[in-house]
């Protein structure tokens, strides 16, 4: 059985079907499939899902003006944008900050469930789905980026101050965890286990 070293890409013969051993060139651990891919992805998805709740419940931005201070959650921001008439902007924020994380998590969960059930139906489509998830991942930090900008720019102490809310780190955690989950997912599993197909 031939294994490619994940570190130096050297092709070598696995010493054992269950445990391929180490790479003879770089001494890296050899794996048929990414190590514990399913379990890791599940764990990261779970962590991201947990973080998703405070990310949406806690305020992400606190703006204090002379008259008052306002703390807004992401949803409140979307609602504010919508009611103030700029619905395209509201839609962008809604998609980028609320729907995409949910979409990524459910897509990965769907892929994982599919693999665990041993279903190989529409494997190509599922692979494409995985690629989309991986691609979107890096763009999901938009919100965090905007908040960082706003906080840095709006600092006019007596009149107006913007401060990041406690929801921001959770939101960032959601994005990072889903990215890690997507990375730890081994798309080759979509096509079956080494034993089931080529074993």
């Amino acid at each position: 059985m031939i294994v490619s070293c994940p570190t130096c890409a050297l092709l070598c013969r696995a010493s054992d079907a269950a445990d391929p051993g180490r790479c003879p060139r770089c001494a890296g651990d050899l794996e048929h499939r990414r190590h514990d891919s399913l379990q890791r992805t599940w764990a990261l998805i779970a962590a991201a899902a947990i973080c998703y709740i405070p990310a949406n419940v806690l305020p992400v931005l606190t703006t204090s003006t002379l008259r008052s201070a306002e703390s807004d959650t992401i949803i409140a921001g979307v609602i504010y944008l919508y009611t103030s008439g700029s619905w395209p902007l509201a839609l962008i924020v809604l998609i980028a900050s609320v729907m995409i994380p949910v979409g990524k998590l459910s897509a990965l969960a769907y892929l994982l469930i599919g693999i665990q059930r041993g279903s190989f139906h529409a494997s190509r489509a599922r692979t494409r789905l995985y690629r989309v998830v991986e691609l979107i991942g890096r763009w999901s930090m938009l919100d965090v980026f905007v908040i960082a900008f706003v906080v840095a720019l709006i600092q006019l102490p007596p009149v107006m101050i913007a401060q990041p809310g406690p929801g921001v780190p959770f939101f960032a955690a959601v994005v990072i965890l889903t990215m890690l989950a997507a990375m730890s997912f081994d798309p080759r599993l979509i096509w079956g286990n080494e034993r089931s197909r080529y074993g």
């Binding site: 031939i2 790479c23 405070p54 002379l66 008259r67 965890l177």
Partner: protein
């Protein structure tokens, strides 16, 4: 290259004995995430204070999510909703109170809207113009928790925990006082009026005042409170008095308190104790007379200008005051006469005595029988009588004076009555009037016309005399003076001749153009010229001695 051979060439992996754990360590990540999330949720729930509702008459400037509740300028809550009450008459404000302030939400806690206020005493809470209105809060003393409150319409003047004490003053009416009117102690602002209630029966008002520490210690059981409001102009027997306090009290009213010097300065008054509010300082600070003697006097003359409170004097010194002025029908003659009741304060009179005589006076006035005997002697033997007198011509105020009238007819006084009737004498004032009238009458009778004619003839004869004098003088003029005149004229002529002679002498001898002078001047001029020529000659000689021999040289130019 054949694939098979290449595959055969592939190196063999190093076999390792590895124990694979069934459960990956990666599960720590979701566990940590869950713990953090749960921790935050728990903290949020724990820090969440109670939700209360406050009922306002009007929610001026109150907005959900923007208006805070502040206690001592610290934010303790936030308005979460503003809505109308069920019957639409009030505004119900729902607020989220911080957990730390949960204990403050007790039964007698106070809420009110803080907004800029402008009053006579100044402008307050100007900051809210920019920062917006907020809900003020003041803690209560109750222990009973409450979640629904009725807001105050205006900020409370005294906040909880402010050192000082509250007192209740009973007054007939509010005058110009209002909530917030200042309370002064020796012209220092010592407190404020914090509340006004109509007494239950509606006949008086109860004014609640808060006296700040440390002034509250000067409120004693015997302290008097009085109204310092506005301008106090009183016209009394002693003239016109104008009394004002600060400008603020002139407009907004005010109270003052003090303890009279004759009262005990010891025991401070208990909080919420009740006092009488007097109408002015003099009434408030008046010494209460515990030993009084009442008398009644009947007059048959006018009582105009005599008012209740008018002074009663004994030998010109204050001895009491008029307590009532009215009418009376004499049971014997059925005549209507004036009735004046007077109150005499014997203590005041005793106070006027020198110390050594105090004991003697007391011995005379202690027992009733002794006092009666003393008074009897004064009135019946010495002729002490009451009389109405004018205190001021300007105001027409009158007072009652007791003086000795030895010539007055003797009377018997019934001293056993509660208010013995004291004998009076007619006012001396009508006498003045009568005298004035008689003077006028006498003036009227004067033979002014006869005097006029006499005066006229006198003046005529005077004119005659003057004329004669004139004639005499003119006679002197014509006879004596004319002789004198000729003599003078002669003298004058002689003098004129002399003058002319002198002038002649002038022109010939010393005048600027006198011939003698002219000649002399010419002569002198010539002498001067000769001298000059001589000098020139001498100089020439000095320079050119040879000129003596050769005559004047023509080479003068070259030598130069």
């Amino acid at each position: 290259m054949a694939e098979g051979r290449d595959l055969d060439d592939l190196p063999h992996a190093i076999a390792v004995q590895q124990r694979r754990t069934r459960i990956s360590l990666v599960w720590i990540i979701p566990i940590v995430a869950a713990l953090v999330a749960v921790g935050i949720a728990v903290e949020r729930l724990m820090s969440e204070g109670p939700t209360i509702s406050i009922v306002f008459k009007a929610a001026e400037g109150i907005e959900a999510g923007k208006t805070f509740i502040k206690y001592k300028d610290v934010k303790i809550g936030e308005v979460t909703a503003v809505q109308l009450s069920d019957d639409y008459s009030r505004v119900e404000v729902t607020a989220q109170i911080a957990k730390s302030a949960e204990g403050l939400m007790v039964q007698d806690a106070k809420f009110w809207v803080v907004q800029p206020r402008i009053s006579v005493r100044g402008i307050s809470d100007l900051g809210t113009v920019l920062a917006g209105n907020y809900i003020g809060f003041d803690a209560g003393n109750s222990k009973e928790r409450q979640r629904r409150f009725n807001a105050l319409e205006r900020p409370p003047i005294v906040t909880a925990g402010q050192p000082g004490r509250e007192f209740v003053l009973k007054a007939k009416d509010m005058d110009s006082l209002g909530i917030g009117s200042p309370v002064y102690y020796r012209h220092l602002q010592a407190g404020q009026v914090v509340g006004v209630n109509l007494a239950a029966e509606g006949t008086s008002v109860e004014v609640k005042v808060f006296v700040d520490a440390p002034y509250d210690q000067y409120v004693r059981a015997s302290t008097r409170f009085w109204n310092e409001s506005g301008l106090d102009v009183s016209v009394g027997a002693s003239g016109v008095e104008v009394h004002t306090h600060s400008l603020a009290t002139l407009i907004a009213g005010g109270l003052a308190f003090d303890t009279p010097s004759f009262e005990s300065q010891a025991d401070p008054a208990a909080a919420n104790s009740s006092f009488t509010l007097y109408k002015d300082r003099s009434t408030a600070m008046k010494q209460p007379e515990n030993n009084v003697a009442n008398f009644v006097l009947y007059f048959t003359e006018s009582l105009s200008g005599l008012s209740v409170g008018a002074p009663v004097t004994l030998l010109g010194l204050p001895a009491g005051e008029v307590s009532d002025v009215g009418l009376d029908i004499d049971p014997k003659t059925l005549n209507v006469r004036g009735r004046v009741e007077v109150t005499i304060f014997p203590e005041r009179l005793l106070g006027r005595l020198s110390e050594t005589q105090g004991a003697l006076a007391k011995s005379l006035g202690v027992g009733t029988s002794k006092r009666v005997a003393f008074l009897e002697r004064l009135v019946e033997e010495r002729g002490l009588r009451g009389q109405i007198r004018l205190s001021s011509l300007l105001t027409g105020q009158r007072y009652i004076a007791f003086d000795y009238f030895p010539k007055a007819p003797t009377v018997k006084v019934d001293w056993n009555k509660e208010s013995p009737e004291l004998p009076v004498v007619a006012s001396s004032l009508p006498d003045v009037e009568a005298k004035l009238t008689s003077i006028l009458a006498k003036l009227d009778k004067l033979p002014l016309e006869a005097i006029g004619t006499d005066l006229k003839s006198d003046l005529e004869s005077l004119g005659q005399t003057l004329r004669e004098t004139n004639k005499l003088v003119s006679h002197i003029d014509s006879d004596v003076i004319s002789g004198l005149k000729t003599t003078l004229q002669d003298t004058h002529r002689t003098l004129a001749v002399a003058e002319r002679f002198m002038q002649n002498a002038d022109t010939t001898l010393i005048g600027p153009d006198a011939p003698a002078q002219q000649q002399l001047r010419d002569a002198l001029k010539e002498v001067a010229q000769s001298a000059r020529a001589l000098r020139v000659f001498a100089e020439d000689l000095q320079r050119h001695p040879e000129a003596l021999l050769r005559g004047r040289s023509e080479q003068k130019e070259t030598r130069k």
